[in-house]
């Protein structure tokens, strides 16, 4: 690390950049929290919690708008170059990803009202938990790298994205089987399918953020072969096949 001291003549510029990273971190914290709470609202049919998650989404929306305003004003006033420009453009991209993560969390929370208690003991719930654990680990690791800037850790992100896709595909198959077994399962299982898809998308946004962070720090694209897509589009379950 070239220990450049606060090299901007206007130290307010450094403060602005710092406040930008702090805002991103706070957004990240909110998004992580929302996803976590949304799933527990769904699993425990906790409608009050679901309402809280839905209301919290406004915080992320607001934060993203603030970051937009701040970055636009920084670009016009400071005309940033090189790593400063990457930092600012990166913040715009990360905040957009985090805002989407919040939306997906909100969408999961909304489904708690419909799903309710109808899926006691279904093993799909454990699958969803495993999926959300992976997605949250992904998000946490990526945001931790945003703090530490040790981009070599981002390599593990690819492994985990593959695992997320694999669990998603497996859950998809399992839910189809439940629907086949009993038509009364169709409503809750369809909602769970959307929840699983949402969580899988959260993992994708985390991967996007990883790529952005790598770009911010190194100025290069993250050299990872993007993981294979999930394979749910080729999954079929034959009626009356033994489960």
């Amino acid at each position: 690390m070239t220990a450049v001291l606060s090299h901007h003549i206007v130290s307010a510029y450094d403060d602005e950049l710092k406040s930008l990273t702090l805002r991103i971190a706070a957004m990240g914290g909110h998004a992580e929290r929302m996803v976590d709470l949304a799933l527990s609202a769904l699993i425990h049919a906790d409608l009050a919690l679901a309402r809280k998650v839905i209301a919290d989404d406004a915080i992320l929306d607001e934060a993203q708008r603030e970051i937009d305003t701040q970055t636009i004003s920084m670009i016009t006033r400071r005309q940033p170059l090189a790593d400063d420009l990457r930092e600012i453009v990166g913040a715009i991209r990360i905040s957009a990803d985090l805002e989407r993560v919040g939306d997906l969390g909100k969408n999961i929370a909304k489904r708690a009202f419909v799903v309710g208690h109808s899926l006691d003991r279904m093993s799909a719930i454990r699958g969803l938990e495993a999926l959300v654990d992976l997605a949250l680990t992904q998000l946490k690791d990526v945001l931790d790298v945003y703090a530490s800037r040790s981009v070599e850790r981002l390599v593990a992100v690819r492994d985990r994205d593959e695992q997320i896709d694999a669990i998603y595909t497996s859950l998809f198959r399992e839910l189809l089987t439940y629907m086949m077994e009993d038509p009364r399962n169709i409503t809750p299982c369809t909602h769970l399918l959307f929840c699983a898809k949402n969580i899988e998308r959260i993992g994708d946004h985390a991967t996007n953020i990883a790529e952005t962070i790598y770009y911010i720090v190194t100025g290069e694209q993250l050299p990872l072969n993007r993981p294979k897509e999930d394979r749910s589009h080729v999954v079929t379950v034959e009626p009356h096949s033994p489960a």
Binding site: M1, A3, V4, L5, S6, H7, D14, L17, K18, T21, L22, A25, A26, G28, G29, H30, E32, R33, D36, D83, D84, E87, R121, S123, R126, G127, A130, D133, L136, T137, K140, L143, D144, Y146, A147, S148, R149, S150, E152, R153, V155, D159, Q163, A166, I167, T169, S170, R173, V235, P242, A243
Partner: protein, 442 residues
């Protein structure tokens, strides 16, 4: 930009507490030398004004008295020699006194922080880490000096806590901090300004245990009641048959009793596994503990599983060489990891006739990782099941085979995760499966 900010910040701070921050990273050997050098130079500094005054006095004497130049030079040389010898001896004495047991002087903020068992982080008025004790590094990983705290602890409560601490300055504030992944943990965090400096200290009190006990109770009841219901129902059914239709059928009675015995022993195994998993979840994460030699662990697992292997007609091939494979962790837990994996390989891969254990190590960034693979040549696991076999009670055949309790791999995964490792499963139908445990090397 953050890095740059950190560098700037560290330089500012180094003025205040320079040597300590660096010492904490050096090894104990160089620490000793460094300490000696530091003390010596500080003593010299202390004596600097004395030397200067003496020189000045001699010079004045010389100029006033008009004495010979030779005498002056000789006097200066003698004086210098004496002045150098005295501090050296004092410095040595100082080190000896510090090493002597019972001495209470000369401890640093680092040694104090390291002695605290709870995670402890010192940060400055910009929220940047100045010092993190080993417990904090063990619990949170990336909290090295220079990291911005609000970027690392992002929950809304922690953001507020750090903000309030920096604003209010003196008063102590506290908040709860919980992490769900990779392992669920809950802390009560308090934040206080350090008097006489512009620094703050943040201490984490682990509350996980009480939370875990609550959760464990709820989980245990839910899991146990669900999983025990099936074998209980089947036993109840057989009892009914034995008392009714099969009352006088000796052949059926024998057969039913055998099934009932199998069911009860399965229930016993299930309860054991559930208890073992719950105990694991209850115990606080204790990282950076003892060094464990994986090779010795695996050797003893293989020895203890020989009877099972020969019963199943499976050869266990241990292809781990003589290399030392040390990781930080809990020996008994790691024993359980390899016991479960090798036992599974013998049970489910029996048709393959052999189980191969091999090991490798590789560098990932600055850290070294040890991986141990347990491979069987049995029927393999279908692709859609692979990512899910570590879930509790997940069963490939869907309706609970009598072979396992559905918890073995969940236990393995839990232990590996709390050792900061990964479990990777690869398998293809008809060719067998490989379970690879990756652990950070010590």
């Amino acid at each position: 930009m953050v890095r740059r900010g950190m560098a700037a910040h560290q330089q500012q701070h180094d003025v205040q507490k320079p040597a300590q921050a660096r010492i904490s990273v050096t090894s104990s050997d160089s620490e000793g030398k460094e300490g000696l050098r530091r003390q010596f130079s500080s003593l010299l500094k202390e004596r600097g004004w004395l030397l200067a005054a003496a020189f000045a006095a001699m010079l004045v004497l010389h100029l006033a008295g008009g004495g010979s130049l030779l005498v002056l030079v000789a006097a200066i040389l003698v004086f210098l020699a004496v002045a150098m010898v005295v501090p050296v001896r004092k410095a040595e004495l100082g080190v000896a006194a510090r090493a002597a047991p019972g001495s209470n002087s000369g401890f640093t903020a680092e040694s104090l922080a390291a002695a605290v068992a709870d995670p402890l982080i010192v940060f400055d008025q910009r929220g940047v880490v100045v010092l993190a004790n080993p417990a904090a590094l063990g619990a949170f990983g990336d909290v090295d000096p220079g990291i911005s705290l609000p970027l690392k602890f992002r929950t809304p409560e922690m953001q507020q806590l750090i903000g309030r601490a920096l604003e209010t300055g003196e008063r102590a504030v506290s908040a709860e901090y919980s992490e769900r992944v990779p392992i669920e943990r809950n802390y009560l965090v308090s934040c206080t300004a350090i008097g006489g400096t512009s620094l703050f200290v943040m201490v984490f009190k682990d509350q996980s245990e009480s939370r875990r006990i609550d959760r464990m109770r709820a989980d245990f009841i839910a899991n146990a009641s669900h999983e025990l219901r099936t074998p209980l129902a089947s036993i109840a059914g057989f009892i009914e048959t034995l008392r009714g239709p099969a009352k006088d059928d000796a052949g059926a009675r024998e057969q039913f009793l055998q099934i009932m015995q199998n069911q009860t022993s399965r229930m016993a195994r299930l309860i054991n596994d559930l208890l073992s998993l719950s105990r694991l979840e209850m115990r606080a994460l204790r990282m950076g503990g003892a060094k464990v030699d994986l090779r010795a662990v695996i050797d003893s697992v293989v020895d203890s599983l020989q009877p099972l292997a020969s019963d199943s007609g499976v050869d266990i091939e241990n292809r781990i060489g003589e290399a030392r494979m040390e990781v930080a962790g809990d020996r008994d837990e790691l024993y359980q990891v390899f016991e479960n994996l090798i036992e599974n390989a013998c049970k489910y891969g029996r048709s393959g006739g052999k189980v191969v254990i091999s090991a490798a190590s590789k560098k990932i960034g600055p850290a070294e990782e040890i991986s141990v693979e347990v491979r069987d040549f049995g029927p393999g696991i279908a692709e859609e099941h692979i990512p899910r076999v570590t879930e509790r009670f997940y069963r490939i055949d869907g309706n609970g085979s009598l072979k396992g309790t559905g918890l073995g791999l969940a236990i393995v995964k839990h232990i590996v995760t709390r050792h900061r490792g990964r479990l990777v499963i690869s398998s293809s139908l008809g060719e067998g499966s490989a379970f690879t445990v990756h652990l950070p090397a010590e």
